[in-house]
Amino acid sequence: MRSGTRAVRTLPALRAAVLPGTCLVMAAPFLWMAATSLMGQLEVFSSRGVLPAAPLWSNYPEALTAQPFGRYFLNSLIFAVAVVAGQIVTATTAGYAFARIDFPGRQKVFMLFLATMMVPVVIVLIPRFLLIDALGWIDTYQGLISTELVSVWGIFLMRQYFRTLPRELEDAARVDGAGPFRVFLSVALPLAKPAVATLALFAFIDAWKNLLWPMLATRSMEMRVVEVGIAAFHSTYEINWPYQMAAGVVAVLPIALLFLFTQRYFVRGIQLEGIRR
């Protein structure tokens, strides 16, 4: 239609290159990490290329046994699973109340909850630490977990989702004589499964990535989570880069695999709320 300017001719080529280029930039550090993790300890300093001369697979067992990484993984898993379970309970119940039950002060209470998303976590760390300490829960699972059991973002997400559900089914159950808890458990909650899956996914990843609180709430090596373990490993094996890269690969892998199999729930999270941090 319009005159064939240069822009029109170069744009499609540029467009075709954008996505692969972006992916390469995004993935490069991870690929580099994987490559370095297979190099010899001295090879990393001399090697001109990116790839190892001969893959040194023994780096993995050696790095992973240098510190009790199995234990770290177990701790991370326990921590993340407990946090997911707790957040599902707190977020679905509260989200349902905010979405479906019209009670006086609902808007104000909801706003109060939302306002906590603005609060920097660092402000509550000291009181939480003192509280957990007073309970004698430092260096225990309950101390690690209990502070993370509620996520206001999760409540918001569940509220949004419950609001998109049709009320008719719930009304029908109510006519059949079901009480509010029965309606919630056997009608609303099963319908909200996709949102619950999204919530579980994000809660899991957030728990897995959490560094600051596990660092404060645990002391012994036996209670460390992966994130704290890698940080400690980093300061111990400062110059042994292949070992550190191997540990890094092992830390990244579970999340990457999890993502591969649950992509659509991520996207649902985006659709539900527009954004995620």
């Binding site: 580099w32 660092v122 000291i126 560094l211 890094g248 990244v252 985006i270 527009g274 995620r276």
Partner: protein, 595 residues
């Protein structure tokens, strides 16, 4: 009908239980302090007993026959309050030295008990009267005010009572400690040992000239201090009660041989009102009781409309798990942190003197803190940059949604995976001497860059990594936003002759406004809390160039253990985040609403 009458009864029960519990907490705390005091006195007696070579008279002279010393049968290790089982040589307890706790002046606090009884009577009478009155609520506000007031008054008077009792206990205890030292000296112990006999939580200062200059320390440290090369050699001992702290001033007369008078060693005994005050449990109990009573009374006006009441109760039953956890682990800690920020609060120090707004004043004058805040603000500038890049990428890849789906893992991974692992990788990639990036630059003829070790560059490097972390994710978010803009609008604009820039300006931007706004607000809030990257990659360096707010607070709290400072800084950070968010809403969201 029954349900309606139940609320006032419930309120009365909550009030009575709340006041009773508040008083019980204080009484319990006091009993604990007394038991601890008795145990300490028993320990003093035991040490005297050992010093005197196992002679009962020393301990008995010290305690005026209040002490009971009995041999312990083999195998028995039981110990109760005010008991100190003393072992000689072997692992077997040899004697048990028992001191009964000092009897309290009043078993129950008179004023709070009277207040609690009065309140409970009033509430009960009101609850009973309510059963006969018509369903319209009567004086609920007055009742609520009275109930909260009485609960508060009970808590305050109880605390005062506990404080004065603990002070009396401290007085008695300071005297005991002093007499123990004297008794030990009389037996012939050297002063170092004698001081350690009374080894309690000591407070000390090099020169106890001003009581407000005292700094306190835990028992182990104080004990080590008692062995300083200048042991106290003689009397006089004095017990000064100066406000909160009791000083046992052990003054060493200057030795004639010394050219300069050796400094006096002052030891001060911490008052129990400082170490055992049941302030926190008392406040927590009273607050919980007040909230519960107030909540029940708030429901009262709804009692004329049973469906509404039922709905409200149901809603709060659903909210209970989240609300309770938030109250305990977020709202409570917020207030607690405000409280801490008004005190000189050190992790290992049992005493937290009130300093008012001093912390805030000092922090506002602290250039390091301002530098950290400035670094955080500069770091936050990566958010608009990342958003611009992400938007450009989203526009360029528009229409190729299937390709994006395939590329998702690469796009998302930096944002969702372990921050520490990412930080370690980048630290390796960007290493000055042998990092791959610098080697690459050198091999193409460019010079190496001190990515993380040059004060001028390090923060920019961290910003770049942050952009890398968030850009893929934001791109996908923007794509979702773009897909939601109706295609017809563009077609209509094209028909009207609008160019690409105009279409972007008048259709794309307004259509994405909501998405842009929320990405901006949440990213800025998150960016103000950056920690992991700095913690692993630069530790705030070089020369404090990457010392961001949360990292600064982290070090203040967990390296220097200055909780008061850290809490005050956190509140300032909160204020900054709040102001930034409010500005965003003010400047941007209002326009969105109008648009």
């Amino acid at each position: 009908m029954r349900g309606r009458a139940a609320l006032p009864v419930l309120a009365a029960v909550a009030f009575t239980a709340g006041t009773a519990l508040t008083i019980a907490v204080a009484v319990r705390g006091l009993s604990d302090a007394q038991a601890a005091a008795a145990r300490d006195v028993a320990r003093m007696a035991a040490e005297l007993w050992e010093l005197a070579g196992g002679v009962d008279e020393a301990a008995r002279a010290f305690l005026d026959d209040r002490v009971a010393i009995e041999a312990v049968p083999e195998g028995e290790t039981r110990s109760g309050s005010g008991t100190h089982a003393y072992r000689t040589g072997s692992l077997q307890p040899a004697v048990r030295i028992t001191v009964p706790p000092q009897p309290r002046m009043t078993p129950l606090p008179p004023a709070p008990t009277a207040l609690a009884l009065l309140g409970s009577l009033l509430m009960s009478a009101w609850a009973v009267a309510r059963r006969r009155t018509p369903p319209a609520p009567r004086y609920p506000a007055i009742v609520a005010l009275t109930a909260t007031g009485l609960l508060g008054a009970t808590a305050v008077t109880t605390h005062r009572w506990a404080d004065s009792e603990l002070e009396a206990l401290s007085d008695g205890h300071a005297t005991h400690a002093l007499r123990a030292v004297e008794a030990a000296l009389a037996i012939g112990a050297d002063p170092e040992r004698a001081v350690r006999v009374a080894g309690l939580p000591w407070a000390t200062s090099a020169a106890l000239t001003r009581p407000d200059q005292i700094w306190t320390m835990p028992r182990g440290v104080a004990r080590a201090l008692a062995t300083v090369p200048n042991p106290p050699t003689a009397s006089p001992f004095t017990v000064e009660a100066s406000g909160a702290t009791y000083h046992t001033g052990l003054v060493i007369p200057p030795t004639p041989a010394a050219t300069t008078p050796s400094p006096a060693l002052h030891l001060a005994l911490l008052g129990y009102e400082e170490t055992h005050a049941p302030t926190v449990p008392l406040a927590a109990t009273a607050t919980a009781a007040t909230l519960l009573t107030a909540l029940i009374l708030c429901l009262l006006p709804l009692s004329t409309r049973p469906p509404l009441l039922r709905r409200t109760v149901t809603a709060w039953a659903f909210l209970a798990p989240a609300a309770l956890l938030l109250a305990v682990f977020t709202f409570g800690p917020l207030l607690f942190s405000l409280w801490i920020s008004l005190h000189e609060w050190h992790l290992v120090d049992p005493v937290h003197p009130f300093v008012g707004l001093d912390k805030y004043r000092n922090i506002i004058l602290d250039t390091d803190w301002w530098a950290a805040l400035r670094n955080t603000a500069i770091f936050t500038l990566h958010v608009p940059l990342a958003m611009a890049v992400a938007l450009a990428l989203a526009l360029l890849t528009r229409g190729s949604r299937r390709a994006v789906r395939l590329a998702r893992l690469a796009l998302f991974l930096p944002g969702i995976t372990s921050v520490v692992a990412i930080a370690v990788v980048w630290k390796w990639l960007l290493n000055d001497g042998y990092g791959p990036v610098n080697r690459l630059l050198e091999s193409v003829g460019l010079g190496a860059v001190a990515w993380l070790t040059s004060p001028g560059i390090a923060l920019v490097t961290l910003m770049g990594i942050s952009v890398w972390m968030v850009v893929g994710y934001q791109m996908v978010v923007f794509q979702a936003g773009l897909a939601a803009i109706p295609r017809d609008w563009y077609d209509a604009a094209r028909v009207d002759g609008a160019g690409a820039v105009q279409r972007f300006r008048h259709i794309t931007l307004p259509g994405l406004r909501h998405t842009l706004f929320f990405v901006l607000v949440t990213s800025v809030i998150g960016s103000f809390q950056v920690f992991g990257l700095v913690y692993v990659m630069t530790e705030g360096g070089p020369l404090g160039a990457t010392d961001v707010a949360v990292y600064h607070i982290y070090r203040e709290a967990w390296e220097f253990l200055r909780f008061g400072n850290a809490a005050a800084m956190s509140w300032i950070l909160f204020a900054v985040v709040f102001a930034a968010t409010w500005l965003h809403f003010r400047l941007l969201e209002r326009r969105t609403v109008r648009a």
